[in-house]
């Protein structure tokens, strides 16, 4: 599985257009990439969409995880199941139905329709990560804070949040990577003029086959993803 990726990375540094031979190291395609306004725009679109999706997933994910772990209410098994469903059902089904709903309620397609679509399933991932962390949380630590004079908000900010932080960071990175890498859902729910990095890659690949620019673009995209994956492992305490 790593062989094609390695090939792609290697050929992104090839100065000539051929995939048959490697003619020395060059940053030519990267320079071309730097000058490409469309690519830059798509990259920033990807980043800010992923950032908003992460924020939404963490805030809602925390609330949801909190409700599921700490409270008993009727219909809890159903809610439990509904949280996992978006993780399991095929993304394409989910995307198609979401598009149908957008059309049905006349929701303008563009950045926000993409964000809602991404958030709809990254919340689930967020809840799964956060609830595991929350389940092992000793609530008497929060009670201790209250007996020392902290109100609900102070308790949350000074005690619950810091203790939850590794879980929150792990969930954030997961949500961010999922949104940043997503293609299917973005494809279905985006509107004219709004493109993210994966869409740009696909469009140029579908037009002109595999070009060196595309290689360098993909290498760039991968290195961003790897960066986040690395950060996640660091935070989860995985040693190299």
């Amino acid at each position: 599985m790593y062989v094609p990726i390695a090939l792609m990375v290697v050929f992104s540094f090839n100065p000539i257009r051929s995939l048959a031979k490697f003619a020395g190291f060059s940053l030519r395609w990267y320079q071309a990439l730097m000058g490409n306004r469309i690519v830059w725009e798509a990259f920033f679109n990807s980043l800010w969409v992923a950032a908003v999706v992460t924020l939404v997933s963490i805030v809602l994910g925390l609330l949801m995880a909190n409700a599921v772990v700490r409270f008993r209410f009727s219909g809890k098994p159903l809610v439990d199941m509904l949280i996992y469903v978006p993780v399991i059902i095929p993304e394409i089904t989910e995307s198609l139905s979401l598009l149908m709903m957008y059309v049905f309620i006349n929701f303008p397609l563009g950045a926000w329709s993409v964000i809602i679509g991404h958030a709809a399933f990254s919340i689930s991932y967020g809840v799964v990560v956060l609830r595991a962390r929350l389940a092992g949380f000793d609530t008497s630590v929060e009670e201790a804070a209250k007996t020392l004079g902290a109100n609900e908000l102070q308790t949350f900010l000074k005690v619950t949040m810091p203790i939850m932080m590794p879980g929150i960071l792990a969930a954030s990175l997961l949500a961010f990577t999922i949104s940043y890498d997503d293609f299917i859902k973005t494809m279905f729910t985006t509107g004219p003029g709004f493109k993210t990095l994966p869409l740009i890659i696909w469009f140029s690949a579908s037009k002109g086959g595999v070009s060196p620019e595309l290689n360098s673009l993909s290498t760039f995209a991968i290195s961003i993803s790897l960066l986040f994956a690395f950060a996640r492992m660091k935070i989860s305490g995985i040693k190299w």
């Binding site: 000793d138 008497s140 630590v141 009670e143 201790a144 804070a145 209250k146 007996t147 020392l148 004079g149 902290a150 109100n151 102070q154 000074k158 005690v159 810091p162 203790i163 932080m165």
Partner: protein
């Protein structure tokens, strides 16, 4: 009139169908070391959580220093609490743990001095920079104590704080806690299932069972004059309980015991069935006992050497056995062997009669 630090009036709390706390009335004066003692599930922890405001009572009034606090949230009650599993903040060091309360209550003036003084009181000098996981169990215990005392709470609640420590440190901490309480002069409400802890430290003890307070009194009072059979067997290392009939004015006819036993008893209302409660250390053993109010014949069934004393099981007849703690004062160690014929004896004021039913 002196105000009571804590007052509970007719406090009741249900969890679903279970009554955790059943019509509890308590009044704890200032500066008292008060223990709530009972087996697990007796409602003692719930009672304490109601005082802290971490649980709301279904009925009844909670007063702290005369003020009704039923509607006051925990963080405004100024009640300190030491939790069973300590509940220290794992993401802070010792100093920040202790500083938390003062910061929350915006009392930053002279904070550093107060904290260092408090750490000195609990015996943690120079450890303020340590992380929590770098401390031993006993040290963590002291951090929890310092954290809850530094804000000078009106009342300090302690929920089985010594449960996680091993015996030696626990015994040491018992003495320490009592000293610290005297030093700071705070009212302590100490919840425990360990009667030794309660008897050793508390000025007064409330024994709880099934959500009901069975008896409140000083440790000696509770030990010497248990009001019912439950208290008699719950308090103290061991107890002999003989069932029988009371014949006024001062005779006890024990089931399966062939001679009347002389007792001291002034029942509040006429009773016939009573249990005679005799502590094992109050019974004397001897080959030929004289000049005691009650002397019975028996036979040594078994014994266990316990160091400072020997625990004998004396067979009075095939239905009745008596446990006797004989102090090992002589050099001989075990004085009587199994199957040896022996006499047991006690004076009438050494036994307590408890009405049954």
């Amino acid at each position: 009139m002196m105000t009571e630090a804590v007052e509970l009036m007719n406090v009741t709390k249900h969890f679903g169908d279970v009554i955790a706390v059943n019509n509890v009335n308590l009044s704890i004066p200032e500066k008292e070391f008060f223990a709530l003692l009972g087996p697990s599930g007796c409602g003692k922890t719930t009672t304490m959580r109601i005082i802290a405001g971490l649980e709301q009572p279904d009925q009844g009034t909670v007063r702290l220093h005369g003020e009704v606090v039923n509607k006051v949230p925990t963080h405004k009650r100024n009640v300190g609490m030491v939790f069973q599993h300590l509940a220290l903040f794992p993401h802070m060091n010792v100093f920040d743990n202790v500083a938390f309360g003062l910061k929350m209550q915006k009392r930053k003036e002279g904070m550093k001095k107060k904290i260092l003084e408090m750490l000195a009181i609990v015996g943690l000098e120079k450890l303020e920079g340590r992380r929590i996981y770098q401390l031993s169990g006993g040290q963590q215990q002291r951090v929890a104590l310092a954290r809850s005392l530094v804000t000078e709470p009106k009342v300090l609640l302690l929920d089985e704080p010594l449960g996680a420590l091993d015996l030696k440190i626990r015994q040491y901490m018992m003495v320490e806690l009592k000293n610290i309480q005297k030093k700071v002069g705070t009212t302590f409400v100490y919840v425990t299932h360990d009667q030794t802890e309660a008897i050793t430290m508390a000025d007064r003890v409330a024994v709880m069972k099934d959500g009901v307070i069975q008896q409140i009194g000083g440790p000696t009072d509770i030990y010497l004059n248990p009001r019912n059979v439950f208290i008699a067997s719950f308090i103290g290392e061991a107890v002999n309980l003989l069932e029988g009939e009371y014949q006024p004015p001062s005779t006890f006819i024990g089931k399966n015991i062939n001679r009347p036993i002389e007792i001291e008893y002034k029942p509040e209302k006429p009773v016939s069935k009573v249990a005679l409660c005799i502590r094992p250390e109050k019974v004397r053993l001897g080959k030929r006992l004289e000049s005691m109010d009650n002397i019975l014949d028996g036979e040594v069934e078994s014994y266990i050497f316990k160091g400072s004393y020997t625990e004998y099981n004396i067979n009075l007849n095939d239905q009745t056995r008596l446990k006797v703690f004989a102090p090992n004062t002589s050099g001989a160690g075990i004085e009587y062997d199994v199957k040896e014929k022996i006499q047991v004896g006690w004076d009438k004021d050494a036994a307590v009669s408890i009405p049954l039913e």
